[in-house]
C-alpha cells in the first residue's frame, strides 16, 4: 500500500481541528494549533471578494527570508567568538575548533532567547486569542546577536521577556509596536545590567578567574580603543592594539556576537535588498548619514580631542554595531518610518546620531542602539511631516491639472 506521509499528517491535523475550535476541549490553545498547523501547511483560506487572487508573499515567507539574511552574521559571529576565546588563551585557532568553540557559546544563548520569548508569545496569543506572529522568529534571533558572548543565560531570558512583553505585546503585537522589540530587549539589559554588556571584560568568552590568558590580552573592542586614545593618531592607536581594517571588515575583532563581521552583515543586506524585504533606502541613508557626520566631526576635532573624533567615517561603519543595526534593526518595517521620503530622513538621522553619540560621549562608545530607538520614537513624526508634503503636492497637482 502506498501511503503518502505528508497527506497523512495533513489529515491527522485536520482531524484534530475540532478539539481546538470554539467549544473544543483545547479551545484556548487554538493559536498554538493554528501556528503549528499553518507552519506545516499553507492555509486553505480563499479570498472573500475582489481581488479574487492574491500575491504569493505572506508574513511567513517574509520573516523566514529575514531569518535567512541574519544567518551569515550568526555563523560568522559564532566563528569569531571561538576565535577570540581561543586566541585569548593562546590555544590553536584552526577553523574547526573556532567554530565549535563559538557555537558552544552562541547556541545556548539563541536557544534561551527563542524559548523564553516563545513562551511569552504563546501566552499572549492564547490570552488575546490572536495568532502567533512570525515576527518573533526574527526578534528571537536578532536579540542574542547583539549581546556579548559572556552574557549570563538568565539575562538573555529576562531581556527577551522584556522585549517581547513591553516592547511589543503591550502595544498589541507585531505591527502595533513603536520600538524595535529586539533593541528594546537589549536596552533593558544594557541599563539594568551595564556591567554585563559594556566595558572591556565581556566581549571574549573566557573566564579571567579560571582560564589562563596570554600576555597582553586586553579584551577591549576597537571602539573602546579609539575612544580611549587621544589626538589624530587614532588609526595608529588601533593598529597598535592589533586592529586592522581587514579584521574589522571580516569580523575577527571582539564585540557582540553577531555584530563584528561587516562582511556577513553585507551578505544579509544583499539578501534583504535583492528580495525587496529590507529597505535599501534606510540602509543607504544610514551609511550616508554616518559618513557625513564623521566628516563634520573630523573637521571639528581639535588637537586635544579624543581620538574617536578623528576616526575616519569608513572605520565607523565597520566598528561596533553600526552595520548590524543598519541592516537588520533600522530596517524593521514596523518601527521604521513607513513613507519613502521618511525612510531617507530616518536613515540619515540614525547615521548622524550614531556618530554624534560615539564622538561626543566617548564614555559610551556604542551609539547604534540608542540612535535607532530614538528614531523609532521619531518615525511617526517624520512620516507625519512627509505626509503633509504629500498632501500639499496632491492639492497643487489637482489645481494645475484641470481643464
Amino acid at each position: 500500500m502506498n501511503v503518502n506521509p505528508i497527506k497523512l499528517l495533513e489529515e491527522k491535523l485536520e482531524a484534530a481541528r475540532p478539539l481546538f475550535e470554539k467549544g473544543g476541549k483545547f479551545e484556548i490553545f487554538f493559536p498554538l494549533y493554528e501556528a503549528k498547523e499553518t507552519f506545516l501547511f499553507s492555509p486553505a483560506t480563499v479570498t472573500a471578494a475582489g481581488p479574487h487572487v492574491r500575491d504569493a508573499l505572506d508574513m511567513k515567507r517574509l520573516m523566514i527570508l529575514v531569518v535567512v539574511a541574519i544567518l551569515p552574521t550568526f555563523f560568522a559571529g559564532s566563528y569569531n567568538v571561538g576565535l577570540q576565546a581561543l586566541a585569548a588563551q593562546g590555544l590553536p585557532t584552526d577553523p574547526v575548533s573556532c567554530m565549535l568553540k563559538g557555537l558552544m557559546a552562541t547556541v545556548p544563548i539563541v536557544i534561551v532567547s527563542y524559548a523564553a520569548g516563545g513562551i511569552w508569545e504563546v501566552l499572549f496569543a492564547v490570552v488575546r486569542r490572536h495568532e502567533i506572529n512570525e515576527g518573533f522568529l526574527v526578534t528571537g534571533l536578532l536579540f542574542p546577536l547583539t549581546l556579548p558572548p559572556s552574557i549570563p543565560l538568565w539575562m538573555v531570558a529576562l531581556g527577551i521577556s522584556f522585549g517581547v512583553v513591553l516592547g511589543k505585546e503591550v502595544f498589541g503585537g507585531t505591527g502595533m509596536n513603536v520600538l524595535n522589540p529586539a533593541l528594546t530587549a537589549r536596552a533593558f539589559v544594557f541599563f539594568a545590567y551595564p556591567a554585563a554588556i559594556s566595558g572591556d571584560k565581556v566581549w571574549t568568552w573566557v573566564n579571567p578567574a579560571k582560564d589562563k590568558l596570554v600576555d597582553g590580552y586586553s579584551g577591549a573592542t576597537p571602539l573602546l580603543v579609539a575612544a580611549g586614545s587621544k589626538g589624530p593618531q587614532v588609526v595608529a592607536a588601533l593598529t597598535d592594539a592589533g586592529f586592522t581594517m581587514k579584521q574589522a571588515f571580516l569580523g575577527s575583532i571582539p564585540g557582540s556576537i553577531g555584530e563584528t563581521s561587516t562582511l556577513a552583515c553585507l551578505a544579509g543586506a544583499y539578501i534583504l535588498v535583492a528580495t525587496g524585504v529590507g529597505s535599501w533606502r534606510i540602509m543607504v541613508s544610514c551609511v550616508a548619514g554616518a559618513l557625513g557626520m564623521a566628516v563634520v566631526m573630523n573637521a571639528a576635532a581639535g588637537p586635544e580631542s579624543a581620538g574617536i573624533m578623528f576616526l575616519p567615517g569608513v572605520w565607523h561603519l565597520m566598528l561596533g554595531g553600526f552595520m548590524f543595526g543598519t541592516v537588520f534593526m533600522a530596517t524593521d518595517p514596523v518601527s521604521a518610518a513607513r513613507t519613502k521620503r521618511g525612510k531617507v530622513i530616518y536613515g540619515l538621522l540614525i547615521g548622524a546620531l550614531v556618530i554624534l553619540i560615539r564622538t561626543v560621549n566617548p564614555a559610551y562608545p556604542e551609539g547604534m542602539m540608542l540612535a535607532i530607538l530614538f528614531l523609532n520614537i521619531l518615525a511617526p513624526l517624520i512620516d507625519y511631516a512627509v505626509m503633509q508634503g504629500h498632501f500639499a503636492k496632491r492639492k497643487a497637482w489637482r489645481g494645475a491639472s484641470n481643464v
Binding site: 486553505a44 475582489g50 500575491d55 504569493a56 508573499l57 511567513k60 513607513r338
Partner: protein, 449 residues
C-alpha cells in the same frame, strides 16, 4: 488629435486565461437579471412583483432618492424571482425570457432629430427609458445626478484588463451609432468629451471619432479603468463631477435614443485559467452566467467573477453578469494546502515582490486560484502599496486614516480618487483588504458629506 497618456503605476497581470480575439454568438439565455448591487448608493424601490409580465424596458426599480431615476427590465417575459439577502436587501430581480422580445416604446428618432435634441429633452428621454443608469459619475462611481452639470464626460473605450471584451473589436461596424453616442454625450456637459482608447486602437469607430478629445492610454492594469483615466486626464475639482460611460454602454445609449427601445445586446468575454473555451460572446445585458459557462469551463469547484478578477463581483454558478460588466472570469477555488510552503523556493508562485525564485526566472503566466496565500496579520511591510497604486494614493496610510475615522485626513490623502482597482489588497503580505477599507472610507464620506 490624439494625445497619449501612459500610466506608469499598476501591475501587468501575469494570469493565465486570456480570451481569444474573436466574437461568437452565444445561445439566448433563458434568464436575465437586474442586480441593484451594481449601482453604488442606489436605494431601490421595487415596482414589480413576482409573476408580473414585463417588456424589455419596463421599469423594475426606482430610486428612493430621485424617482426619475429608474432601472428597467433587460428583457421581456415574467418576473420569475425576486431574490433578497440579509435584512431583506434586494439582490436580484430575475426575468424569465419568453418568446420574441417585446419592447416598451419610448419613441424612435432619426439621426438628425436625435442630434437636434436639446439637453433637457435628451435627459428626460434617457430618464424615462432607464438609459440614464448607463451614465456614471466620479467621484463615488454611482449613477449620475440629472440635476448636475459635469465638468466633462469621459467615454472609456479601453478593455478593463486583458480578460475584458476589447471595444476596439466590439465596435467594428458600429461606427455610426458610436459617433451618435459621442455627439449626445457632448450635450451633457459644457466641458470637453474625452474618448479614452487603447494605445494601439485601429477600429474606425475609435480612430475616426469626431467632436471629442481622443486620449490613447497605455500601461499595465488598470490603465483601462475609467476612474484611472479620469484621474489622469480630467480629475473633478472639489464639488464638481466627471461623468463617464464605458463604450458598450454609450453604444446602448445611442441605440436607445435612435430606436426608442432599450438595447440589451452586449459582448462579454469569457476568460480565466478555468475557462476552456475562451473568447468573446455576443449575449445580453444581465445574462445568466450559465448561458456562457455551460460546457466551457473545467469541472470542479470554481469561482466565477463578473468583471475583472481584480475587482469584480463573485457570482454563484447560477448567477448573472453585472450591469456594467463585459467580462466573466473563471478560476479554481484554491483550497489545496501546500506542505512547508514558505520553505519552497517558489518557482511556480506569482508575486510582485522578489521573494520567490519565480521573480527572477518567472513564467509569463500563472494559473492562479483563489487561495489567500497566507493568513491575516497586522500591517508590517511598507512601501509596496504606493508602488502599485495607479492614482498616486498611499493606500496603507489612507487605510489608517479610515480606521481612525478621520474624514479630513482621508480626503487629503485623495481617497475619492481611489479607482477600487484592488491592487493594494493584492500585494499586501499581511492579507489585509486594504482596498475594501478605503471603500468603507468613501462610503463614510458619501454618508456624512
Amino acid at each position: 488629435m490624439a494625445s497619449t497618456i501612459s500610466i506608469r503605476r499598476g501591475l501587468d497581470l501575469k494570469i493565465a486565461g486570456r480570451p481569444a480575439y474573436k466574437i461568437v454568438d452565444a445561445p439566448r439565455p433563458a434568464r436575465t437579471a437586474l442586480q441593484p448591487g451594481d449601482f453604488r448608493y442606489f436605494r431601490p424601490r421595487l415596482l414589480v412583483r413576482e409573476g408580473d409580465a414585463v417588456k424589455a424596458g419596463t421599469p423594475l426599480l426606482e430610486s428612493k432618492d430621485d424617482a426619475r431615476v429608474v432601472l428597467v427590465s433587460p428583457a421581456s417575459g415574467t418576473i420569475e424571482q425576486i431574490h433578497r439577502g440579509e435584512r431583506r436587501k434586494l439582490l436580484e430581480i430575475v426575468v424569465a425570457l419568453a418568446g420574441e422580445d417585446a419592447f416598451e416604446e419610448f419613441g424612435a428618432l432619426d439621426d438628425s432629430d436625435a442630434r437636434a435634441l436639446t439637453r433637457e429633452a435628451l435627459v428626460e428621454k434617457l430618464l424615462k427609458g432607464g438609459a440614464w443608469s448607463l451614465i456614471r459619475r466620479r467621484p463615488f462611481a454611482c449613477i449620475a445626478n440629472p440635476d448636475e452639470r459635469p465638468q466633462s464626460v469621459l467615454i472609456c473605450a479601453t478593455p478593463q484588463d486583458a480578460f475584458d471584451a476589447d471595444p476596439d473589436l466590439v465596435l467594428r461596424g458600429e461606427e455610426k451609432d458610436f459617433q451618435l453616442g459621442l455627439d449626445l454625450a457632448a450635450k451633457l456637459t459644457d466641458g470637453p468629451v474625452f474618448l479614452a482608447v487603447p494605445a494601439n486602437a485601429v477600429s474606425p469607430a475609435l480612430t475616426a471619432a469626431t467632436g471629442v478629445r481622443t486620449l490613447r492610454f497605455s500601461g499595465p492594469y488598470p490603465a483601462g479603468d475609467p476612474a484611472v483615466q479620469i484621474y489622469h486626464a480630467c480629475p473633478p475639482k472639489a464639488k464638481e463631477s466627471v461623468w463617464y460611460l464605458r463604450a458598450q454602454d454609450l453604444l446602448a445609449l445611442a441605440r436607445f435614443v435612435r430606436t426608442g427601445r432599450v438595447s440589451p445586446e452586449r459582448v462579454v468575454a469569457l476568460g480565466g485559467p478555468a475557462a476552456t473555451e475562451r473568447q468573446l460572446f455576443r449575449t445580453r445585458l444581465g445574462a445568466s452566467a450559465q448561458s456562457l459557462t455551460e460546457g466551457r469551463c473545467e469541472p470542479g469547484e470554481l469561482r466565477l467573477v463578473s468583471g475583472s478578477v481584480m475587482n469584480g463581483r463573485k457570482i454563484p454558478r447560477t448567477g448573472f453578469i453585472g450591469f456594467y460588466d463585459t467580462a466573466l472570469f473563471a478560476l479554481k477555488e484554491g483550497r489545496e494546502r501546500e506542505f512547508l510552503s514558505f520553505f519552497r523556493p517558489g518557482l511556480d508562485k506569482y508575486t510582485v515582490s522578489s521573494t520567490c525564485l519565480s521573480s527572477f526566472l518567472g513564467k509569463a503566466e500563472y494559473a492562479l486560484d483563489t487561495n489567500l496565500q497566507g493568513s491575516l496579520r497586522n500591517f508590517v511591510q511598507s512601501g509596496i502599496y504606493e508602488d502599485v497604486c495607479p492614482v498616486g494614493i498611499w493606500p496603507d496610510q489612507t487605510a489608517k486614516a479610515v480606521m481612525a475615522g478621520d474624514i479630513e485626513e482621508m480626503e487629503k490623502h485623495g481617497i475619492l480618487d481611489c479607482a477600487d482597482c484592488g491592487l493594494c489588497t493584492f500585494v499586501c503580505p499581511s492579507k489585509i483588504e486594504v482596498g475594501a477599507i478605503l471603500r468603507r472610507g468613501i462610503d463614510l464620506i458619501r454618508k456624512e458629506g
